[in-house]
């Protein structure tokens, strides 16, 4: 269905460190994205007036999942995860399962806690994720972006559909890759950009080669052309991966 006011929880997908935890997800508190207000009022002005402190608060707050202890599921991935670096991406499908171009929230994060509890008699596990100082990069300034690759098994080289940002931007971008499944083959996984949606250049080339479940955070400084896309070039095997791409606007 695409763009519109159609972002339902049933079409949200949450990926953590190369694992899709959506099947165990129950609720989420907030995808944080705020500055604090700095009051710059002088006495003679009479009213409080503010500027933003330009220290964006980012994080995934109160992600709650069923305590599924099967391998690769929520409890298995979240337990013992506190204080560890991880990459998290959340897709918001537009009235359907997420598609290329749908809203994405990406976080190179540190899991802050792991809390067991009960919710309506179901055992649950809750975690918060904050921006990770160990992964901090000046190119990460905006957690909201788009999905460039969605949860589909790839069997051949592919150039995904492009996403049109409307204009070139000049303050860098980041991308988060999750390899969700692999047959053990070899791939080259990239984010590319283009000014005309015809001639493409490499923007971010991931180190991950698609041979194993993993996640990776990549960055690029400076100019990012109007169009962006995901490219997967096959040498061998099959791979399932998702990519969230967040470009900065300030």
């Amino acid at each position: 269905m695409g763009a519109g006011k159609n972002k339902l929880l049933r079409y949200a997908r949450f990926y953590l460190g190369g694992y899709d935890l959506s099947g165990d997800a129950r609720s989420i508190g907030e995808l944080q994205n705020s500055d604090q207000a700095v009051d710059i009022m002088g006495w003679s002005e009479g009213f409080h007036n503010f500027i933003a402190d330009r220290r964006r608060q980012v994080g995934i707050n109160q992600f709650q999942a069923l305590m599924n202890d099967a391998s690769g599921r929520a409890f298995d991935q979240l337990k013992d995860g506190a204080a560890t670096s991880v990459q998290a991406s959340l897709f918001l499908g537009g009235g359907a399962v997420p598609a290329v171009g749908d809203v994405a929230y990406g976080l190179p994060g540190v899991q802050i806690n792991e809390m067991a509890g009960m919710d309506a008699q179901a055992a649950i596990f809750t975690a918060d994720f904050l921006p990770d100082a160990a992964q901090y990069d000046a190119d990460y300034d905006n957690p909201f972006g788009v999905a460039l690759a969605i949860d589909e098994s790839l069997t051949a080289t592919v150039n995904n559909s492009s996403v049109d940002y409307g204009a070139q931007t000049t303050t860098g971008a980041v991308a988060i890759l999750h390899v969700l499944a692999s047959s053990g083959g070899t791939w080259v996984l990239k984010v590319q950009d283009s000014s005309d949606n015809a001639a493409w250049a490499d923007l971010i080339t991931f180190s991950a080669d698609g041979s194993a479940i993993t996640s990776e955070y990549g960055t690029v400084t400076g100019t990012v052309d109007r169009y962006s896309r995901f490219q997967a070039t096959r040498t061998s095997g099959t791979v399932t991966c998702i990519v969230s791409f967040m470009r900065n606007y300030r």
Partner: protein, 149 residues
Amino acid sequence: MAGKNKIERGFRIYFDDSGATARDLSGDLVAGSVSGGGKQYEQVDLMGVSEAFHNFLANFWDSEISAQFHLNDTATTGAFTVLSNQEGGTGTLTLQWGSAGAAPTSNDPEWEGEYVLLGAPVSFSGGAGIMTATWKPTGSTAPAWGLVA
């Protein structure tokens, strides 16, 4: 038409996008979620011990505005599109109250000023993604009551 006929159906909210174009966000505004418009003064309690009741003067005032919007990523005009690219940015914020459920028209009440958008974090309510936007006044010219042109 003046009168005690200002209902939510006739309310409109506009905020500048990153290109300083005013965007009508009313179609994505969650009903009942707007808070603000007008002035809130600080209360300075000047009561003396021997006085029988608290008595006050008004000091500085503030004008925080908050509202929730459906997470609409329609290009150019959707609330998510407008607000996610304006986080930390400034622009003209306009609230208008139309009469008898109609869209605001000439001489209807209006609150307008320069505001900074502090943020628009996303949460889920009733199964749908929503953004909670919070604005504070910015600049040296105070927001003020006026009339729709």
